[in-house]
Amino acid sequence: MRDLWDVIVVGAGPAGSTVARIAASHGASVLLLEKDRDVGVPVRCGEAVSNRSLERIVEIDERWIAATIRRFRLVSPGGYVVEPDIGGFGYVLERRIFDYDLARLATEAGAHVRTKCYVNALIEGDHGWSGVRYSSNGKQLEARARIIVGADGVESRVGKWAGIDTTTHLRDMETCAQMTLSNVDLEDDVCEFHFGNNVAPMGYLWVFPKGHGVANVGVGISGMASKKKHALRFLEEFVSKRFPQSSALTTIAGGVPCAPTLDTLVRNNVVLVGDAAHQVNPMTGGGITSGMLAAQIAGEVIADSLKRDDLAILNDYPKRWNKDHGAKHRTYHRMKTAVYKFPDETLDEIATNVLALKEDKRTIWGVFKVALRHHPSLVWEMVKTFGLS
């Protein structure tokens, strides 16, 4: 078996498959290692994305889409319902098909995928690391590469082995439980978000429809809040009240690092992308498209670095990421931290104030503007980030 590659990518999620596809399409030999037996399974994700973000990165296949979302419904702790105009639309994906296809597209570009390969160490080399050790079907194996990409998700161990502190602070780790419920009666174009200390402290509960009476219903709460009561308990309580007739087709756990992007994304010949690099949007917890966007940049930079045989070029990747998205994510993180401190009464007050606005002013931005009144220092952050006042 060939074991010498230009690039080894650890983890075949959306970010890993994207970096593999881009690097391979520029002529690099790429090995993509996935620890699970099946790419895309299990799905640890609410599966919602904005159409605009996704179509910037990849040509959308309609088989990936379970439902098209045209409205958001925000429910405050006291039950006030705000439906802001989202100024576009979104999708709830079928990640089983989506992730599978992204890996397939990587192989079509020339990358090679191996599943059931659990990477457990980096191999030291003269200039950084020369490869990875991994176990597969009971055997301990090695593969060598010039560049190693850690796309190993929330666990982010590749980075740790390379000397990067990838540990997520307990406060920033959103600990999640989700059920995919059948036999639920919902509007198929509405994503619901529920807030409040009794529903999802320091986080939110989501109801994302997938068509045919099926929905992803999940809770994400901060690790700090989870000390008192764990995510699955919150979810079970909500589901038994709201969807007593439903059946859970899947019950799954997950963790989302809602933190600012890591300060170090490249160390020698090791590059981090996606959740492993903390590139999730810290405000929403959405990580699919931001991880893929980072992976696209990383893939291009890696290909360039290989062509010119210069590892220093890899540093273009953090520069390009931080210039736009990284900077925004730092602001989103500060905003999230501030919103976490809002008591339930404040959230209710924001909701009632938004409801007092004229209907055409009830946009996502309108909700933010009202929220900003409660935390004036957020205004300056918003101005810096979006150039708005």
């Binding site: 929330v154 540990t167 780790m173």
Partner: protein
């Protein structure tokens, strides 16, 4: 690779409090409840010591690295970990 040992793998022997380390190392106070883990990786993400091995369907605490900080206990969505407080055991080092 350093292989770890979980309290759950000790079986029905003495309680964690009474497990004394021969080398004076920290005694593992965290137990993984069998057949409860969903293998999501949340605990690995918050572990400051890289003390958890998590394969597709296998989880293990690397005892030599674990400092009993309990972040895994708090963060787990499914309550897979149990922290056995030392209680009256004064000799835990």
């Amino acid at each position: 690779m350093v292989q770890g040992r979980t309290v759950s793998q000790v079986g029905n022997g003495p309680s964690p409090c009474s497990i004394t380390s021969m080398k004076g190392a920290v005694v593992l106070l965290i137990e993984i409840l069998p057949n409860t883990c969903d293998f999501c990786g949340c605990c690995v993400g918050v572990c400051p010591e890289d003390a958890i091995e998590l394969e597709e369907a296998h989880i293990e605490i690397i005892e030599e690295r674990c400092t009993n900080c309990a972040k895994c206990v708090w963060v787990c969505p499914f309550e897979v970990f149990v922290f056995h407080a030392p209680g009256k055991c004064k000799e835990v080092v």
